[in-house]
């Protein structure tokens, strides 16, 4: 009996070891703890900032990141969700790609009850010993957040969505002072929400704890999002080094990254979202070759091999015990 158990334990250990080897070989990681790393390798091919479905992304290794409901401060909402994250760089710019499943494309905010699908990435402004709280940073350790909204993507792709686009007969015969911004106070004050001519679907933000999120006048993050067959892919792109008190990136450096996603159909906005913890982001000098289909087969073979070996060992153990 005792010998049999010993053999089984050995088998299981072997199995775990081989799965780990398989995952390492394929560079596939499960981001269930902070030790998990998203590696941005160097892409020799061009990475187009406006096409999240470009084939270059098959060269970046995916990391599965679990998100869960925001339950720290009201308003609370969100749920368990998984996003797939990938990252690349080309010496000039850092690219982060988020991908997740969503049955409905919610890309309008023109009625009273419509909310937009959205996604965000968050980095410490200063990487180092004090990692800011993943909940939007701390007063003494701020975070830089880049938020993409589907509604802004619509404004860019199809032009600013105005009242008549939603309700063709809503408009009045005459709007006095129509061209004067002061009658659109948010616009007059430079609130990026009120922009009618948007250059990027991504907002560059700073925060030092929840409730302090502040929009910046530097709209320096580019990218694009696209909904295809029940899932979103959103690409964030920014110069690795920029002016201002924002996160900076350089080859060979490590920092942290966290993710958040909002489902418009569930009225998610503000703190009502699904969030991840911080994981490590490594800007690597290695060239992105891609895992390709081959690695998947390597994992399958390794796992199958391990299972077979375990069975054999277990059987052998039992026989020895009998004999």
């Amino acid at each position: 009996m005792r010998t049999s158990r010993r053999w089984t334990v050995l088998g299981i250990t072997l199995l775990a070891l081989m799965v780990a080897v398989g995952l390492t070989v394929s560079d596939m990681r499960l981001a269930s703890s902070q030790t998990v790393t998203l590696v941005a390798k160097r892409s020799e091919a061009q990475v187009p900032a406006d096409d999240p479905f470009d084939t270059v992304w098959s060269r970046a290794n995916p990391v599965e990141v679990p998100l869960s409901a925001q339950t720290v401060v009201p308003p609370k909402a969100g749920g368990d969700r998984t996003i797939t994250a990938r990252a690349l760089h080309d010496d000039e710019r850092l690219y982060v790609l988020m991908e997740w499943e969503d049955d409905s494309e919610d890309s309008l905010v023109s009625s009273q009850t419509e909310f937009s699908d959205a996604a965000a990435v968050q980095f410490p402004v200063t990487p180092g010993e004090t990692i800011p709280a993943f909940c939007m940073g701390d007063p003494n350790a701020p975070v830089n957040i880049w938020q993409w909204k589907a509604a802004w993507q619509t404004d860019i792709d199809e032009g600013f969505v105005d009242v008549e686009d939603t309700y063709p007969n809503a408009s009045v015969d005459l709007y006095p002072f129509e061209d004067e911004d002061v009658f659109y106070p948010a616009r007059a004050l430079g609130n990026v929400f009120a922009q009618t001519e948007r250059e990027t679907p991504i907002d560059n933000l700073l925060a030092g704890s929840f409730g302090t999120l502040t929009q910046t006048s530097d709209q320096i993050v580019n990218g694009a999002g696209e909904w295809r067959d029940g899932h979103w892919r959103v690409l964030f792109a920014r110069e690795m080094s920029v002016d201002g008190d924002y996160s900076q990136f350089a080859e060979g450096d490590s920092t942290n990254v966290a993710f958040a996603a909002w489902d418009g159909a569930s009225d998610e906005r503000d703190g009502m979202k699904s969030v991840s913890q911080f994981l490590t982001l490594e800007v690597s000098p290695d060239v992105a070759e891609g895992s390709g289909g081959v690695t998947v087969w390597i994992i399958v073979a390794v796992v199958l091999g391990a299972v077979a070996l375990t069975l054999v060992l277990a059987l052998y153990g039992r026989q020895r015990q009998r004999g």
């Binding site: 009201p74 609370k76 009850t113 009242v163 939603t166 129509e178 929400f193 999120l213």
Partner: protein, 410 residues
């Protein structure tokens, strides 16, 4: 959650923030009995603040016919239902002990804040009205209450006070510039603030990110989302007039547009002094006198818990249970006092819509007894912020006879 004192409920209650009070509080009294629903107030606000693209559906001031009307549709019925569901059968008052700090007794039910605290996911109870609910702002205009439980039947027999069987009344609504605003509790990014100088509640148009939590959690449904700027807007209490910075005011605090244009002379608006978190005793401020001394003017749905600052003289002819639900247990006393006014009350009622300048103090000069009545022809005098006289009116309105040569002129 902090504990704050709400005098309208006669007790402490839960609120997201600690108590903090302005120096003065924007407040008004609306006399429902006199409103003719001409909507001049509504149009004056619209032509001042909400005539631009994206504001088509916005009526920061609206006048709705009760019991059926509402903008957005059935806003109050929905709120009452949410509260009832959160605390079935518990929304009751104990009015056995009245006092200065609890003029209507003690509310034992749950406020919108307390009802939400149980779950902890939100700061206040609420709902987001749909586009359809914001349409037809004057729906059910002039529609009277029918026979209860009998479709398409109304009471046709002659009706008389104290309660009419066939009834409706007009409810005039603007933002209440609440002491404990639901909108402020709701906003997760603190984009809404209450001004320390006058208690006016404003949405920072630069900070707002269009989350619409305020639209969801203002029980009176006064913040509204503007699709052309993708942020929320609300009644601004005509602050350039109230602070006297509008060139028109000549530097003196002036009543808001919707108040100063009121055809029915139902509105009186001003600022009350606040000391140690409570209305300072200021007997000759007409607003203080009407709400705290005479107690003829009552808050709208005090049980919501936001301590609203627009006070209503309830309509005399409406069934009391309906009014008590809407204005709390002070209704019976308020109607009695309004029906049989004291000499002073009668005089102060003359000040409604007498001047655009905000009246900070009134004085009464006693007059002769009016022949054949129990009334006295007293004179009410109103003074501005600098204590200069701005208006003088007697109980008996002066009578002018048009001379022969002007008979046909306009």
């Amino acid at each position: 959650m902090a504990q704050v004192y709400n005098w309208q409920l006669g007790r402490e209650m839960d609120y997201r923030f600690e108590e903090a009070h302005p120096e003065r509080q924007f407040a008004a009294v609306f006399n429902i009995n006199r409103c003719i629903a001409c909507q001049t107030c509504t149009m004056s606000c619209k032509s001042t603040w909400t005539f631009s693209r994206g504001q088509e559906f916005m009526w920061w001031n609206n006048v709705e016919t009760k019991p059926y009307g509402g903008y957005p549709h059935h806003w109050d019925v929905k709120l009452l239902q949410l509260l009832e569901e959160a605390n079935p059968g518990g929304q009751a008052w104990n009015s056995s002990q009245l006092g200065d700090r609890q003029p209507y007794g003690v509310y034992n039910g749950k406020t919108i804040f307390e009802a939400a605290a149980d779950k902890g996911n939100e700061h206040a109870l609420g709902y987001l009205p749909s586009d359809e609910e914001w349409t037809a702002p004057n729906i059910y205009e002039d529609t009277a209450m029918g026979a209860v439980g009998v479709p398409n039947e109304s009471h046709l027999e002659a009706t008389q006070l104290p309660e009419h069987k066939t009834w409706f009344f007009y409810l005039q609504r603007i933002c209440n510039h609440c002491t404990y605003p639901g909108c402020i509790a709701a906003c997760p990014r603190n984009a809404i603030y209450k001004r320390p100088e006058d208690g006016i509640v404003l949405i920072d148009q630069q900070r707002c990110r269009g989350y619409r939590k305020c639209v969801e959690q203002c029980p009176y449904k006064k913040p509204m989302y503007r699709p052309t700027t993708r942020v929320s807007e609300k009644c601004v209490a005509c602050y350039p007039r109230v602070e006297g910075s509008d060139p028109l005011t000549g530097g003196l605090p002036m009543e808001t547009r919707c108040v100063s244009t009121c055809i029915g002379k139902i509105r009186l608006q001003g600022l009350v002094r606040v000391e140690d978190g409570e209305w300072a005793e200021d007997r000759n401020n007409p607003l203080y006198f009407l709400t705290r001394v005479e107690r003829v003017a009552l808050p709208l749905y005090p049980q919501f818990g936001t301590e609203p600052n627009i006070y209503y003289i309830p309509p005399r002819w409406v069934p009391r249970p309906y009014l008590r639900q809407m204005f709390g247990p002070g209704v019976d006393e308020a109607i009695d006092r309004y029906t049989n006014p004291s000499r002073e009350l009668l005089a102060v009622l003359q000040l409604f819509r007498a001047s655009q300048t905000i009246i900070f103090r009134y004085a009464i000069e006693e007059g002769e007894k009016l022949e054949g009545t129990e009334l006295f022809n007293d004179t009410a005098i109103g003074f501005d912020k600098n204590d200069n006289e701005v208006v003088r009116l007697s109980v008996r309105e002066p009578f002018y006879e048009r001379p022969q040569q002007f008979q046909n002129s306009i």
